[in-house]
């Protein structure tokens, strides 16, 4: 019960002074990312304006963080260890909600603009993601697995954290570019913008959605493979038979 009260108290000042709070008008360069044959990744521009009450920017520095987050999935993370001279999967841990993609950009390094508690509440930063580990009780072990997961996803380009890549113009306009690799999973992504001042999040907006989907031939292939697998398999066999036969036929004439 105690934490509920604490939580209520924390949000109280925000709701009381709702009229004095600036408003965010965020947008993205593309509402839809289409994956097709030449897709090698994309670059998404997240930008927007900060509208202050009575049009006056407050004293002091403001900071902006933008987050692009893909849908969360449950996963098993396996860890290899050297046993009897060979590396095999020896240990594993389950996570109930791992975003398929998570990128955060901020105007300054995150630890300089928000305190650790705020960062944890808003899941700001790769080390603050709530991955909901399950099964593993030992906290140290859990930490090791979480770090391994974040490191792996980071090197695959699916988890990103970039400090200083949000540009703020005249304390009103902001913009940030986020890289999306070609291996990005499909789904509905949410773009979140947070206005930060004095270590606190003043206002946050997460209403902008970006759809990542396969289109055209790529969409057809994955739908067929997933839902019409008998037909897909037959097609695959026929295509390779025809190609092989055709090539043999052509080369015989030379």
């Amino acid at each position: 019960m105690k934490w509920l009260v604490a939580l209520a108290l924390m949000f109280l000042p925000v709701s009381l002074s709702a009229q004095a709070v600036p408003k965010l008008v965020p947008d993205v360069s593309q509402r839809q990312i289409n994956i097709q044959s030449g897709f090698t990744g994309a670059e998404l521009l997240l930008f927007g304006a900060i509208i202050y009450p009575r049009g006056v920017a407050p004293e002091g520095q403001i900071d902006v963080a933008v987050v692009l987050r893909g849908p969360a999935r449950p996963i098993t993370l396996r860890e290899k260890q050297k046993i009897a001279g060979i590396w095999i999967n020896a240990d594993s841990s389950d996570f109930r909600s791992v975003p398929v993609y998570y990128a955060i950009a901020s105007s300054r390094p995150l630890r300089d603009i928000v305190d650790s508690k705020t960062a944890a509440i808003y899941e700001l930063g790769l080390d603050k993601l709530q991955l909901s580990p399950s099964g593993e009780v030992d906290a140290k072990e859990q930490r090791r697995f979480s770090n391994g997961l974040v490191d792996l996803k980071q090197r695959n380009g699916l988890f990103r954290q970039e400090a200083g890549s949000v540009e703020i113009t005249d304390q009103v306009l902001y913009r940030a570019r986020l890289e999306i690799p070609s291996s990005v999973p499909v789904g509905t992504y949410v773009a979140e913008t947070l206005l930060i001042r004095n270590g606190r999040v003043i206002v946050a907006d997460d209403k902008v959605e970006v759809r990542v989907r396969k289109t055209g031939f790529e969409q057809l292939v994955s739908i067929l493979a997933q839902d019409y697998s008998l037909f897909y398999g037959t097609m695959a066999v026929l295509v390779s038979l025809l190609l092989g036969w055709f090539a043999g036929y052509i080369f015989q004439r030379f």
Binding site: D151, W245, A247, F251
Partner: protein, 304 residues
């Protein structure tokens, strides 16, 4: 030229895939093997997920063996009766392979098992081949003709009940022997994405004692049908067949195979076999080292 693979979910350089297919195709044209044992590891090395690599490689082997089967059929080099028995065994093998695949994937050991199987199989077969071909190369060099190998099937094969006559192979043996052989290669096809030619051919020669003139054709015949079955099986179970990947591999490999076949005519068969044995042993060695080296990724993610 970048191309997005819709099942592997990543983009690759199409030229690299075509060249990879071409290189493997050249070897397969020279030696009459499907080349799956090289394609799958090379694809994995390039960053394609192992399951997609194995599934798509088996699709590619289908295409790579078609024209070979036709060519051998024309000159009577296929024992259809023997082939049919092998194919039936192979079908059951792919089904069993699919079940094994599922179990191993669930416990997270599929990659290790695939690697160990590669090392054991390539190592032993490459070793045998190297020994045999080195022997005959040395014999030719020293000028002494080697005594012709006696064509006999293994005593174990002879002890199996219920014998059939396989006229084209010149055999009177129990169909259980090729059935089991087909079954084992079927499992390999499903797990490793190999056609199994490099197991089949020596097994047919040295275990079954088949006539050399029908060995390659019959092996190709079996590979054709079993890789078709394993493509179907992968499509239905792992859903990992990437048709785009398979097509690009095929474009390379069918071209390479023709070049390889022409090159092979100019080379001495003994040296050719020694060359193949060297490649097989190198792949085995690389994979064996890979088991002991610290892998690039300690952690792997599996969707629940």
């Amino acid at each position: 030229m970048d191309i997005y693979l819709p099942i592997a979910n990543l983009s690759v350089n199409a030229l690299v895939i075509i060249l990879l297919g071409g290189g493997v195709g050249m070897l397969s044209g020279m030696f009459g093997v499907g080349g799956g044992f090289l394609t799958t590891p090379l694809l994995i090395f390039y960053g394609i997920p192992p399951t997609v690599a194995a599934a798509s490689a088996s699709t590619q082997v289908t295409g790579a063996s078609v024209s070979g089967v036709f060519a051998h059929m024309k000159r009577g080099g296929v024992d259809f009766q023997m082939g049919a028995v092998l194919v039936v065994g192979g079908m059951f093998g792919t089904a069993a392979g699919a079940a094994i695949f599922e179990v191993l994937e669930a416990v997270g050991q599929i990659d290790t098992v695939i690697n160990i199987l590669y090392v054991v199989m390539l190592g032993s077969i490459g070793g045998l081949m190297a020994k045999e071909s080195l022997g005959s190369v040395l014999a030719v060099r020293s000028g002494k003709p080697r005594p012709a190998a006696k064509r006999r099937h293994h005593p174990l094969v002879a002890s199996l009940p219920m014998r059939w006559r396989f006229y084209r192979s010149g055999l009177y043996i129990s169909p259980l022997a090729p059935l089991i052989l087909g079954f084992v290669t079927g499992i390999m096809t499903m797990l490793l994405g190999v056609g199994g030619g490099f197991i089949m051919v020596p097994a047919m020669l040295y275990l079954l004692g088949m006539g050399a003139q029908v060995v390659v054709g019959t092996s190709l015949f079996q590979i054709l049908f079993v890789t078709m079955a394993s493509t179907m099986m992968h499509s239905l179970t792992t859903k990992a067949v990437d048709i785009v990947l398979a097509v690009f591999l095929l474009i390379g490999s069918v071209t390479g195979a023709q070049i390889g076949a022409r090159l092979a005519q100019r080379m001495r068969p003994d040296y050719l076999r020694l060359f193949l044995a060297t490649i097989v042993l190198l792949v085995a060695l690389r994979m064996a080292l890979g088991l002991g080296w610290r892998p690039d990724e300690i952690y792997t993610v599996q969707a629940l």
